[in-house]
Symmetry: D3
Subunit: 329 residues, 6 copies
């Protein structure tokens, strides 16, 4: 049986495939018939279907299948009126030998369209080239390098925007590119502003504004979760912690460190969005706008892709709580 | 007596100078002594001082001086504890012959740091080069050209931001440059978005988002005023009017016109800021952010320049209703 | 078999009837059994029931039935525990010959309790008799006459209030009657107000305040939808467009036109309700209150009629988001 | 010396006049010179001017003049740059004999343009004729008659709207007339509503909605003040008290009393405007709108009369916190 | 068959038990199968399960079972995947003779963990000992004694907090104890405050702040309901009524009564929470905080007990609309 | 000449006194006469008066007097119509020898009514006795001891509440006492809550909730100022920093530290009041209420003491933005 990819299967096709289990919920029909709702996914398609208690897979499902586990499955793909489904023929946990057949966990996870290492390298390169203050540059580069492993896969959020493997890098790189442009532009437009715009600080702030996600979010195969400290404290305060802890070592001048902390603390602008202080420096203002636009733009892209409402506008049941205009065909 | 510039005079210097009268208010001291508070300005400095009813200028001031009129004045400049003042020796209205001595109205008005014609030309050039749809390009170029005279001097607002001669051009050009960058960036980042980002539309929207100021604001030498329709209808709706009236002639396809109107209508995003609809297209989202950042940035620049609060932060009595951080010396 | 009316059938009665299909949704029971939820209505009753995929009508339903289409049906009416239902015996699309049997589309649509033509005539009569300024009267009468066909059936909204055939006329006539009373009353009470209340303007504003619905709403047999421009621009701005386009022809003096536009623009009073400007003239104030009360009153009438909550108050799940008091019985 | 009326004096005219002292504040000029700011008024004009400590009237002013007291004054009226003033020649408290010369307190108080007794009689007549339920009619008539003396002069508020002698009657009569119209109209429009609109209740509610002002406001010659219970409890709750206390005697059926109380409790609609509950009956809805429009309309009339801002719109510093459009001359 | 308690039964156990029916709703499965959803409870456990129309109990259930009725049941307890259920073997209404077997209604109702009579006695004791003003003490004691029967079982709310038999007493006693502490503390801390803190008033206010629940809530076996006046007027205003009616008899001095009324009126502090006035006296401030903390604390206790969300935080779908931190195991 | 205390001087009395200069502002009268507004204070009275440029003290005042400096003054106290004033006879800076005459800076500063050292000792004693977890107790005691010097004088705020020397201690001690009571009470009331209330944590949180004021506020003789980091970051985040830095040394278990940080972060409850997270633990809930009541109570005490509005209620121009009821005399 050939190894196939779930997201490329067509109606009626049978094959062996590697998938991640993402959901197992015990439910009952209204008239009392018990079943498990289960879901499996690869990087681009998710199928969900019932496993009846009294069906052949009922006992196995109850006793041993676990969300967050990778499985090798033989199944027939069905494109039904109730969405895409899978008729199971065989199922077992992935084992070491499967790597020889091409298995890797990444093949089952939603991830950035861009290569994580390339994004990481570009971010480091921007930091090295564009941050002129030595101590600040060192701080940023160190923080990226020391957390490289986690940053390569970290999502930007548990849902809302960039909620996929590599989402943090994709979002942060995009915000940083915009910030480089805006810092140059506004410095050129207002050379007489005092104190003069600190372009290095804008870039450092853009790269580090979401660094607290490292402590707020616990990525897991079946979807990211908030940590205890993420719930009780939040990424804005924890991002400032990470910078302060590192800054001690890097010898950043006090006022510069304070301005950098302020960019992180104020980057969501309003108290009800999590920022205890509004942007009070031009540098913080730029990072806030670059960040906010990038998040909202990605949300709009997702809504346009996923909304199934007929007609020229989408439903307003989405992360923006508003309609998006798709246009007349 | 040499012709001097008010904004370059030093304490005790006497000279002949051309100024604009901006204020004449009849007041009385607490103990009942009547006087006129008057103010005169050139492009960069404003002086204000009392004319006592019973002083030599009292009768002239009451009977003939008018705010909004240009005067040739001989006076001694005094930098007093109560701010800069002028001891009047002579005063008469400017006449035609004064142009020979270098008078022009513009020398008495606050104005953009940039050359209005160059800004205008750059805006037209962007429209010609970057807007690919023929009808849309024509619409934008026509609107700029037909309103060229007013646009060369129009402020962007009566106060708040870019409230000076040429302010509309300075603000709109800046927003347009940012929008060009963002349109290219996000189109490259999400080439698969459907409908695809219409970069021409972003640029047209950026150039025209504030076109309604032509009908909302009546520029006057002593400061811009709202028109009756500006008060009752507002620039957002009137900007859409201008575009719709012109579009009839230019034969813009319906859906494209609708999307362009929407950018104008939604560019302030929130109902309480004047937008009846939030940005519902990616194009509108970009123009909103480019516009909002530019306005807020210019406000922050002004606050940093003008605030006189001692210490590391400014007062919060300013157009942003918040403190701005200046830093420790 | 006699032709009967759906809304007059009793339990167990069989008959031939003309109905409009309003819903066809493909669903599945929790345990995976597929069916279509369908609904049919006449002017005063709607029935909905399942068509199982494997039932005799399953294939026809899937392949050819369409919401928005009129059908001649033979069926048995059942008043079941799950609401009123219909057992289908025969079903075919309505054809030309059915008019001979009394079919007309209107018999299947919810509509105003009042005769549309009479309401239209009364509205025109009020305009002719009570609007004293010639140009203003002409503008209003022309706009009514030119849009007569659409206005005879237009609903006032897609839901919320007066969401039925003729709803626009019913609501606008009611608002206009109230406005006639209030204009007379307040003009009499404050004859010394300057500028004096323009009663003609109040009446013109009342008649035209919702004229933009013509472009915002697309009436369809199965329920009104928002147009693209309705979504992106909204009826408040489009109503002003309609008036401005017509005013050019009718030669209305500028200040009068501006005041009329302002009534339309401000008639919902608050930005978050869609009005970019609050009522800034006494005329606009009157129209706002007459309109707001009429909409809220009709909502309350509907809630009292339709709510099924036991006890002296209704549920708060309704268009007013509050309880309504019905009283102890 | 002829007896004249302050509000009819012309510049330079001397005369004897009866006035009410409304203000006496001890102030000092910036450079330390002490004086009293005093004000006197008749029903339509107020003058204010300084009494210097060291002037002839200084000692009398400090020792014996009291705001809220009526004076007979001989003075010269001056229309100065600092507003209308009075040069005092003689001043003494009004005494009994002055009535022979035409003095009455009412001639010095701002008051309704309408005759208080006529308004009162009309209100009672409406109650007698239009309230059909016997007990309800009796309750309303009794409450009016028993409080007749206070109601003849009560203002509707300390400021904001109808803040003058007879203001309560003027406002309540106007609201009642509108409510009579609306009750008839909506009962006719929705005869099938259940429970049917209780027109008697609408009228009773309109007449009594502000009855709590009797306990909230303490009218005083120099301007109404809030009572202690007005501050701590407010007129909405106290109005309900008055009705409940009277209802015990009048034997109103429980549900009718409850609905009447609810009209009073909900007549300002929003919690932040003082209503703990929103209108939950059609009767309460009508009274709320009739009341709100009347208050706002009177505010707009006052703003148009009193605002001195040049140009087509008023300032926004007024009780409505918004601009009002006056129009181009 | 032994008499057992529903809340102590274990899986598979059969027994005779006394229960209260709390729910009977007629529903249908998605595929049209009709059933009744029924629920029964004792003081600490509720079971709910379907009664199919065509099952042996179908007819009895439809025809005679009523929520709010007590039943003697023989059944087998099942701890199923769909929650705790009961297999019915026998069922009949409770009759007089059952008291001999230990039946009392209270055994089927959720109730306070504390003895109602002891709480009542403690409350009266506090009033007697700590309220020094004679008339005030008498008023409070009288109100408690005259309403003793209702207060012994009254819940504090229909849901949200302390929504069980005896909940009013539990909440009020707790608020009163805190208020005694705070009154002593703040009087000691600010002995120089004028007027001095009236400790008796604090305690009287604490005891009576929710007395209006007597008229707002109608306790019923199957759960408390709002009365008509509770819906239209609310407990805050009705609590003040109760005090005012009693105060007439008790001869409370006017200012003291007013301050007491104010505590009741302001105890929820914000208009949107139901208080027309904010706390304007130190006494009202203390009662507000003691009350608010007690309600919120009890909500948090319930959320921690009932939330079933896995992980260190609860869901945010609860009466506080926020997550509560439970901690890592 | 005897040494006297400014706050005890009577009209016309002459004496030598030690005072702190708090204000020196250069102003001008409306008619252009320049002067300095100066103010001097001891611990309980402040006088302010003009020093005219051309008066004997004019030059000294301009050249050498500085706010924040202590002076020995000989003067005559005058209780004038313009408030209390001082006629200066002699003035010089305080010098070392003045201590022999009883001078200490504290005699010129507003300060707590309680002894700072006693409050400090009580706070430490509570920590030692009531915090059972060893590491937590050590952390709290260490933080208090290491910052003892600053804490002995720190105010609780720059204005609003407890804005005087020792204010931090007075406020924190009061909050802690209340928290001890509430922790005991609620632990006793809900012994079955899981996780059980951690009383030690409540007390630690109460003591440390405002510890960040150490970094937010810079106390200065003439009044406390915000530091740069106070402006850009705020005391809530900086308080958490202080605890985290100390906790590393004290080896506090992670979950306990996290809960303690959360109390600090959430103690102002709402985002717009500065708390990025609401109280999510019972411990945080208690500290929030104890803190909020104490601040509001002290504000009300100050308003009652300082408001000069005549009548039974204060003005609403105060830190609570509302009226406070004082009562009828």
């Amino acid at each position: 049986m050939p190894i196939v990819s779930l997201s490329e299967m067509t109606n009626g096709q049978e094959g062996d495939l590697f998938v991640l289990m993402t959901v197992k919920e015990e439910l009952t029909t209204r008239d009392g018939k018990p079943y498990f709702k289960v879901a499996f996914r690869d990087h681009a398609r998710e199928v969900n279907f019932p496993i009846w208690h009294d069906s052949p897979w009922g006992a196995d499902c109850r006793d041993s299948w676990q969300p967050g586990t990778f499985y090798k499955v033989r199944g027939v793909f069905r494109d039904t009126n109730y969405g895409p489904q899978l008729e199971l023929r065989k199922i077992r946990e992935v084992c070491g030998a499967d790597e020889a057949d091409g298995f890797s966990p990444a093949m089952c996870l939603a991830q950035s369209r861009f290569d994580a290492r390339e994004m990481f390298d570009e971010l480091v390169a921007i930091a090295r080239e564009k941050i002129e203050e030595q101590a600040l540059r060192q701080l940023v580069v160190d923080l990226l390098e020391h957390n490289k492993n986690e940053l390569l896969t970290l999502p930007a959020a548990t849902r809302n925007h960039h909620a996929f493997v590599g989402g943090w890098l994709e979002h942060v790189l995009s915000v940083t590119r915009t910030s480089v442009f805006l810092a140059n532009k506004y410095d050129q437009d207002y050379p007489e502003m005092r104190p003069r715009l600190n372009k290095s600080l804008v870039i450092a702030g853009a790269i580090l504004h979401d660094i607290g996600k490292l402590r707020e979010i616990k990525p897991q195969p079946q979807g990211a979760q908030y940590t205890a400290s993420g719930n009780l404290i939040g990424h804005i305060l924890q991002g400032r912690d990470i910078v302060r802890e590192a800054a001690t070592a890097d010898g950043l001048p006090g006022d510069l460190l304070l301005r950098l902390e302020h960019i992180i603390v104020s980057h969501q602008r309003l108290p009800e969005w999590g920022s205890p202080k509004p942007p009070m420096t031009p540098e913080a203002l730029i990072v806030h706008y670059a960040d906010d636009l990038d998040a909202k733009y990605q949300m709009m892209v997702c809504i346009l892709r996923e909304d199934t409402n007929p007609g020229p506008v989408t439903s307003k049941k989405n992360v923006l709580y508003q309609k998006v205009y798709r246009g007349e065909e």
